[in-house]
């Protein structure tokens, strides 16, 4: 089995790569920092004795590049059975409000870039009638909030996109899974001070691996975020405005 990891320098992505490699899969690691992707590939090969390779990838590249990347990976390591769309970019909300180019960047990485590379992967999987696409979305995409709505809306759009893609590919035997992540202990949350438990990337990775194996379509991780978001989504807008979340 071959797994393609997009945004391989993310710790969640690395942890997922670890779990699949431990299960004996070949792994393609695609990242902007191709040197680091290659180091990650050596690591998997040494630890688990699997085939692994690093590839250059930028979410903001044109669709042709994404499509070429998928072909290149398949030539090197065989048909992609599982693709993980892990890259993401939180950006700076305030800076994005002041400079729209910054907001555009957040939207393009989290939404346009993700859609572009998903389309490229989907074509290959659709033609073979097999495969699984995993998208890392966020609880931030469940409700627009003053503090991070560029990121949140892009993730929300990604969630909707994955839903649509799932419906399109259902008859083609291609599985699409949306992971709505809460707080995971990565650079994105390193500065965060919160009373809410922050889960390790390793635990998140195991949950993602197991869910993909069982063909789960959408899930929250950590699970309790389902409850939290249930409450947050049910707060009337009038009140929500005053909560300054």
């Amino acid at each position: 089995m071959t797994v393609l990891i997009l945004g391989a320098t993310s710790p969640i992505a690395q942890a997922v790569a670890d779990v699949y490699a431990a299960a004996g899969c070949s792994v393609a690691l695609a990242a902007r920092d191709v040197e680091e992707a290659r180091r990650a590939a050596s690591d998997l090969t040494i630890r688990y004795g699997v085939e692994a390779q690093g590839f250059a990838f930028d979410a903001c590249d044109a669709f042709e590049h994404h499509s070429a990347l998928v072909s290149e990976v398949e030539e090197a390591l065989g048909p992609v059975d599982v693709a993980l769309v892990a890259f993401g970019f939180m950006g700076d909300q305030q800076a994005s409000e002041e400079d729209f180019e910054k907001a555009r960047r957040v939207i393009e990485v989290n939404y346009t870039g993700a859609v572009s590379v998903c389309e490229a992967v989907a074509r290959a999987m659709e033609s073979r009638g097999a495969g699984s696409i995993i998208g890392l979305s966020s609880v931030a995409g469940e409700r627009g909030r003053a503090s991070n709505y560029f990121y949140g809306s892009a993730k929300g759009a990604l969630t909707l996109y994955l839903q649509g893609l799932r419906n399109r590919l259902a008859s083609k035997n291609v599985h699409v899974m949306t992971v709505k992540l809460g707080f995971i202990d990565t650079p994105m949350t390193f500065e965060l001070e919160t009373g809410i438990p922050v889960a390790s990337p390793q635990k998140a990775a195991k949950a993602i691996f197991n869910a993909q194996g069982r063909g789960v379509e959408t899930f929250y991780y950590p699970r309790f975020w389902g409850g939290i978001m249930g409450v947050i989504k049910s707060i009337p807008e009038k009140m929500f405005k005053r909560l300054s979340l």
Partner: protein
């Protein structure tokens, strides 16, 4: 543009004394490490591995700390020679887990497997096999170090050998070790063919120690509460890596498995209390531990974990000392008689050491800031009894320095600059090299400031 996430975190060594608030970054990649260095805004900097040094060696209260635990990629491995290149945040435990099944062991291991390769080099750690294998640094073939200039330089015994020398045992003060090439040790199994022998006093210890030079691993537990004729009684352990056949006899009974499960569920934090360890309970523990072992010699084949890392069985056991924390005093003295004087001071002080370990080192001496040298080493854990304890340690320092001994900086939280200079006569040679590679003193720690190795 700064790309690094900085967060203020409470940071402490294993003794949880002192605890400081430090501005930290936790890079996930080499590039992020370089970015953190460039984003430090002129502040001092220090690498922090797993904080298993006891005092303030891995702390930097005013400055920026790079947590290296996420830099854990294995970069290259030669199946034939056993040479491995890994990033500095990989732990000794991970190395054993990955390479023991392939017939390789880590050449030098400390008393816990939760230390990073960077920390093992920074403190130039020693193990139970010092007489045969030297220190961890003796098995390092090359390193890549991020220097104060911002450059990444490869060093080895042939290339920038001064930097290589000063970085081994350099307490993180020459730069950030990004990765290292280590020569692993070929073994038939992870199991240890071991003998344990109860001894009644210090003379018996030295006698058994002399008879045991043929054993690869030696270490002893010693009762530091008992004075008088039985002063220095304890249990001597010696062993070798078992053959594959011997290892096959190693079977885990149902009882061991239950014990293991209970231990895994235990967490020292549950017992966090200043009251638990006092003179009475410590005396009791030492009595019980001594008598648990039958008199004479006992032979067994055991797994590597209980042999090398018995304390790892209970997670966070350091919390058992309570909020006040604890201090370890580890020293080496070239003369045996000095050990007796030191034990006397301790047993008369009425300040009990819960765990004490004694061992004779081999002749290897790396120099610089590296600790091990020929002689007897004694490591003692004391609950933080405050001023009286610090006073006694000052007395011990004087005894140790008097005979040309020294204390281990990786365990230290309180040595004075003056004593440090007496104990480490090569400090100037070391500083000369450090000044060549870090003239501004970018790399600092609370320890280096206290010892006068960098401006306070």
């Amino acid at each position: 543009m700064t790309t690094t996430s900085w967060a203020s975190r409470p940071l402490a060594g294993w003794g949880r004394y002192p605890i400081v608030e430090a501005l930290c970054a936790r890079p996930e990649s080499q590039l992020q490490t370089l970015n953190a260095f460039n984003d430090r805004q002129g502040d001092a900097m220090l690498a922090h591995g797993f904080g298993r040094s006891y005092g303030d060696a891995a702390l930097l209260s005013e400055g920026r700390v790079v947590l290296t635990r996420r830099l854990k990629k294995m970069l290259a491995f030669d199946e034939v020679s056993g040479v491995l290149q890994v990033e500095a945040g990989v732990t000794i435990g991970e190395l054993i887990e990955v390479f023991l099944p392939r017939g390789w062991f880590v050449p030098v291991v400390p008393g816990t497997q939760f230390v990073s390769v960077g920390g093992a080099i920074g403190c130039n750690i020693h193990g139970k096999n010092h007489g045969h294998a030297g220190c961890f640094g003796d098995h390092v073939r090359a390193m890549e170090v991020l220097l104060a200039s911002g450059e990444v330089v490869r060093c080895s015994r042939k290339q920038h050998d001064d930097l290589f020398w000063a970085t081994i045992g350099g307490m993180g003060l020459t730069g950030i070790i990004l990765n290292a090439e280590i020569q692993l040790q070929a073994v038939q199994s992870g199991a240890i063919d071991m003998e344990s022998i109860r001894f009644n006093n210090l003379d018996e210890f030295f006698q058994i120690s002399e008879e045991s030079t043929g054993y690869f691993h030696t270490v002893s537990w010693i009762d530091c509460v008992k004075g008088g004729a039985q002063m220095g009684r304890g249990i001597f352990m010696r062993g070798r890596h078992a053959s594959a056949q011997q290892a096959a006899t190693l079977s885990e009974g149902p009882l061991e498995r239950v014990v293991e499960l209970v231990q895994r569920a235990l967490d020292g934090r549950v017992f966090e209390s200043n009251m638990l360890l006092n003179r009475a309970t410590i005396r009791l523990f030492n009595e019980a531990y001594y008598h648990k072992h039958p008199a004479g010699e006992h032979h067994s084949v055991v797994g590597y974990q209980p042999f090398f890392f018995p304390l790892d069985a209970v997670e966070n056991w350091n919390y058992v000392y309570g909020k006040r924390g604890f201090l370890q005093y580890q020293m080496v003295v070239p003369e045996r008689e000095a050990v007796r004087d030191i034990l006397k001071v301790i047993s008369e002080s009425k300040m009990a050491s819960f765990l004490a370990v004694i061992k004779e080192f081999g002749d290897q001496d790396h120099g610089g800031l590296s600790f091990p040298c020929a002689g007897t080493t004694l490591a003692l854990d004391f609950p933080n009894f405050g001023e009286p304890l610090l006073k006694m340690m000052d007395r011990l320092d004087a005894l140790v320095a008097e005979v040309g001994g020294r204390i281990y900086l990786g365990k230290d939280a309180r040595l004075s600059a003056e004593m440090f200079r007496r104990m480490y006569p090569q400090w100037e040679a070391w500083r000369e090299v450090r000044d060549r590679w870090d003239p501004q003193g970018v790399f600092q720690s609370d320890l280096s400031r206290r010892l006068g190795l960098t401006p306070a």
